[in-house]
């Protein structure tokens, strides 16, 4: 199929449909609404389910219901709506139902604004709901990547019986750029649906989908199994992109559209002769910790750039574990960091590192002088 000009939100919707989406439930919220509107026309035309719910609370529970029946079901929203979905996400996680959610992030907290933001990082990777679980969180940086990630989200969710969140900021939802659509898949056949799916106990023992385990041993056993599954996901599903890291002395770490902005910064820095590399996590959970740790041994400092007060920053620090300094540059409230600002922040980091190195060298020299004096 040829490359066509697509708006991010609509491209994600079309990719989901081509992935065999059977039911979409959602509630309008900027900057995600085009996704819902696109679904409202396309899904019924294909004989599939579209329903505008009364709230995000209802949407996610409709997804929970449809997905409990083994259907490929999804919702999409933006930050305040995701907050409302946390209850449903926790139930979906507890009963191990595969489901897909798109978060087109906007500025917060509260009603915030409708400008791009990355301040849902904690919510998606750490606290998507009560209890011990993590959804798989994938962050595209281009419309094409959003399409590719969306297309694979259902098989991924089904493989692990888990939630997959496609996490993009408002700018990616709104921007238009060329993308190539994957081929159309039909919805799952009866044979392809999980044997656990609730579809009527015809000629088999009943299936029950629940997240209730009153016996504490039983619930701990479930939790241990969930943790094992999360470990497997951590081993198998780390994704990232590296740009010019081979000889890098300074490493930018950024995801989503900010990762893209950092590429511009990187090119400029390289032009000016600085050995800068970029590490762009694509899977925010599982975070690509091992590779970033290796790179931390090689570079002088890491600069994390986010549209938040520094949320992924925690994961970077956990990965780097003090191997090198970790600095941060962030914008909030819907302000997008510009390549020049990042370049400046990078220059400051370099200056700081150099000053520290010089101070250390000087300290060594001073010590030598001091010991010489003492020898006299």
């Amino acid at each position: 199929m040829a490359r066509e000009l697509w708006k991010g939100n609509e491209a994600i919707a079309e990719a989901a449909i081509r992935a065999g989406l059977e039911a979409y439930f959602g509630y309008p919220i900027t900057p995600q609404t085009e996704l819902l509107e696109y679904m409202s026309a396309r899904m019924p035309a294909l004989g599939r389910v579209f329903l505008q719910a009364e709230s995000e609370v209802a949407s996610i529970n409709m997804v929970y219901g449809a997905a409990s029946g083994g259907a490929r079901a999804m919702s999409s929203s933006s930050s305040p709506g995701i907050s409302l979905m946390q209850e449903g996400l926790s139930y979906i996680a507890g009963s191990e139902i595969p489901a897909v959610l798109v978060d087109i992030m906007r500025g917060g907290p509260g009603l915030g604004n409708i400008q791009p933001s990355q301040a849902d990082y904690f919510q998606m990777t750490r606290s998507a709901g009560h209890g011990d679980f993590h959804p798989i969180v994938l962050a595209p940086s281009t419309v094409q990547e959003a399409v590719d990630i969306m297309y694979d989200a259902f098989p991924l969710a089904e493989k692990y019986r888990t939630i997959v969140i496609v996490a993009a900021d408002g700018s990616l939802g709104q921007m238009m750029e060329p993308a190539e659509m994957p081929p159309m898949r039909s919805v799952l056949t009866e044979a392809e649906r999980g044997a656990w799916a609730v579809r009527g106990a015809a000629g088999r023992p009943k299936n029950v989908i629940t997240s209730l385990f009153l016996n504490e041993q039983e619930l701990e056993t479930l939790n241990l199994r969930l943790q094992e599954k999360l470990k497997t996901i951590q081993m198998n599903e780390q994704r990232w992109e590296e740009v010019e890291t081979e000889d890098a002395r300074y490493l930018l770490v950024a995801y989503g559209t900010v990762g893209r902005t950092c590429k511009t910064t990187l090119r400029e820095a390289r032009k000016q002769g600085h050995k800068v590399g970029l590490f762009r996590p694509i899977s925010l959970w599982p975070f690509p910790t091992p590779r970033l740790r290796e790179l931390a041994d090689q570079v002088r400092a890491v600069l994390v750039v986010e549209m938040s007060a520094g949320q992924m920053l925690d994961d970077v620090r956990l990965a780097v574990e003090g191997r090198c300094p970790v600095e941060f540059y962030g914008r909030m409230g819907g302000v997008m960091p510009l390549p020049d600002e990042i370049l400046e922040a990078l220059a400051e980091v370099e200056a700081k590192v150099k000053a520290e190195v010089e101070a250390k060298v000087k300290a060594k020299v001073d010590t030598k002088v001091l010991s010489l004096n003492l020898n006299l």
Binding site: E22, V49, S68, A201, N207
Partner: protein, 266 residues
């Protein structure tokens, strides 16, 4: 005549003299319900109707959060456990993707009339083709007897120790009447199960609700006035009398909506 003790189950079955047995749609297990609680009767009525209509293998039951949270253990049908109040939303997801199945929700008054008010009203308003069994026992049973949206004025509960003051807590909500006002609701009835007559009437209403769904007409709901001897601090018999004397006057039994198409089914 054979000694009474010698009559075995096999003999009865052989003679075709069975007048009462466990419906196929009920699982062979004990329930956790308190003595005298009428959840058991309501379960049985629904199970009997499922058997009679021959729909056990295509029924999907959505369990609530409340005393009936373990209902999926008591029915031998496919089931899901919803979050508190969200059963109608989950049922919507199930029914929209599997329109050939029979989707039921079973909900308490806290579940349906407090935390899940938005979900039930909108499911009814959309005419979601599901059947809702709403068990109104005037308290939060599972959490040990706090005020419910249906608690009667002056009724003492663990969170209205001096009785429900309507100036503070508002009035008991008549959900059957409210839902009947929505065009998408096709069959809405309130029943009780405090004596043989009311049980029989309730059974008919359950059948009508399921037939409404099978005919694809829209949302059907049966509200049951149900007892909670434990949290009402009454004997089971007193609790049944209390329903008749106190609940039924505030929540009158009857049909609140019978769409013409539903009328035609009966």
């Amino acid at each position: 005549m054979a000694d009474r003790n010698e009559i075995t189950q096999e003999m009865v079955l052989e003679q075709g003299n069975v007048v009462y047995q466990r419906p196929e749609a009920l699982a062979e297990t004990l329930t956790h319900y308190c003595p005298g609680c009428t959840h058991g009767i309501i379960h049985r009525l629904i199970a009997e109707a499922i058997d009679e209509l021959g729909i056990r293998e295509k029924t999907i039951l959505v369990a609530p959060v409340g005393c009936a949270v373990l209902i999926y253990n008591y029915f031998d049908v496919d089931a899901v456990e919803a979050a508190h109040g969200r059963a109608p939303a989950m049922a919507t997801g199930l029914k929209r993707t599997q329109p050939d199945k029979v989707v039921l929700t079973y909900q308490g008054d806290g579940d349906l009339a407090a935390i899940g008010t938005a979900e039930i009203l909108h499911a009814a308003n959309r005419g979601e083709n599901i059947s809702v069994f709403f068990v109104n026992n005037a308290v939060y049973g599972m959490t040990s007897g706090q005020m419910a949206p249906t608690t009667l004025p002056g009724q003492v509960t663990t969170s209205t120790p001096t009785g429900r003051d309507v100036k503070v807590h508002g009035y008991p909500m008549r959900m059957a009447e409210i839902i009947a006002g929505l065009p998408g609701a096709c069959y809405v009835a309130r029943r009780a199960v405090y004596d043989v007559r009311t049980v029989r009437q309730a059974r008919k209403a359950v059948m009508t609700a399921l037939k409404t769904q099978l005919a694809g007409l829209g949302l059907s709901m049966v509200e049951f006035l149900s007892s909670c001897p434990t949290n009402w601090h009454m004997t089971p018999v007193d609790a049944l009398t209390w329903i008749k004397d106190n609940m039924a006057p505030y929540f009158p039994l009857g049909d609140y909506k019978v769409a013409d198409e539903v009328q035609a089914l009966q």
